[in-house]
Amino acid sequence: MLVQLARWFWGSVRFRVTGSPERFFNRCAREGIALWGMESGETPGAWIRAGYYKQLPACARASQCGLRILEKRGLPFSTMWLRRRKGLPTGAALGALLLFVLSQQIWCVQVSGLQTIPEEELRAACEEIGLVPGAWKSQVDPIRAEQELMLRFPNVSWMTVNTQGSSAYIELAEGVQKPDMSAFQKPSNVKADVSGQILLFETYDGTALAAEGDAVTAGQLLISGVVEDTFGNVSLRHAAGRVIASTTRTFTASIPMTETLSEETGNTVSRRSLRLFGLRLPLTLAEAPGEGWSCSRTLTALRVNGVELPVSLFEEVWAETASRERILTPEEALEAARREVERQQAALKSLRILSSEEKIEESGGVLRYTLTAKCEEDIAREAEILVNSPN
């Protein structure tokens, strides 16, 4: 079997001998040329390794015989057509080499389990520690990468980095941040945030200094953090409570009657680049236009069976913009002013508007909108008691 395999690999030639085959075979044997499958009879011949055939004519001349090739077999002859197409074996060899080299690299980094941490931030951290597409697999230590990423993201409770094939997988679980309890331990008072009349007064801790039905002004002390017990001892507490009061609030918004619009003129410049193993290969030669143009970027990664490949197309589309001034109609300006006031109201917690009155003025190209509202809201605002301790 091994002999046959060697004969196939090196190639073999079957030839016919005319003349005296005995003399020719003897001559070959004396010259050390190995023959096999020697045939006798009317068409005597033998097999020889293809590379040694060129030695036979000398033996044939010496033994006054003639030779004629009958058959050629083996790898050198079956791949003879490739000699005219040198690109094919070269390409196959280069392809095999490329496959070998690429299989030693990380092709993609896949992340799962992110909730609040931005993926870009995690990928930037991965890049800093060398876990990027194009990195050599032998240089990536998953355990070390895991530890370094855990140090960079302290709110991650659990993380694992695995390499499988040519992909690196990062799986993590984010933890719940511990609330800051130090603010609840500092001594503080509760003061009125705005002026109003108290409708509901609940004291959770501290000494109540106001009562339901009282009218209070902004900044007035409602609950004191200084507590005196029945023995006359004084202690500082973190005063807390809920004080619902009837208040009057005024919200104002000034909207210019002209607005500057930025509109696209229709001229666009597209810049594409191919990202291959982290390398950016520009496909277009256009430069970034700069000011007066807005840009939108898209990154399209090539995926096969859900696995991201290290080949992606990055496209920037720059659109030329021109500024234009537009005069708002009174309705549009009023709508914008109402939206602004609603935004101010949304910023206030536990605000309930009972009734409101609008006032609209337009002067000097500006619409002034004023909303006076009667509200019910929690006016309790904690104010820390600053204690200068000699210790």
Binding site: E22, A34, W36, M38, S40
Partner: protein
């Protein structure tokens, strides 16, 4: 290897001097291994005649073939019917 061959050839030379012939091994009537041969004199389907020093050895049979051959040995295969020593 070369040394072994030299020793082997030396051994054959001694044998040759001792018995005046070559070393022939028969594997049943299917194969004959001839060591110390000096070439073939006749090669046919029925007869293979080999020169071995002062003697000539003739193998008779059917479908005789020389499987392989070197300068001082050869292997004859086929259905051997007889072997003659000719002077």
């Amino acid at each position: 290897m070369e040394e072994q061959n030299t020793q082997h050839r030396g051994g054959l030379t001694l044998l040759h001097h001792a018995v005046g012939g070559c070393h022939i091994e028969l594997l049943g009537n299917r194969q004959a291994v001839v060591e110390g041969s000096q070439g073939i004199l006749e090669y046919g389907d029925d007869v293979v005649r080999v020169r071995a020093g002062k003697l000539a050895v003739r193998f008779r049979g059917r479908n005789l073939k020389i499987r392989c051959m070197t300068a001082d040995s050869l292997v004859v295969e086929g259905f051997l019917l007889g072997m003659d020593f000719l002077t």
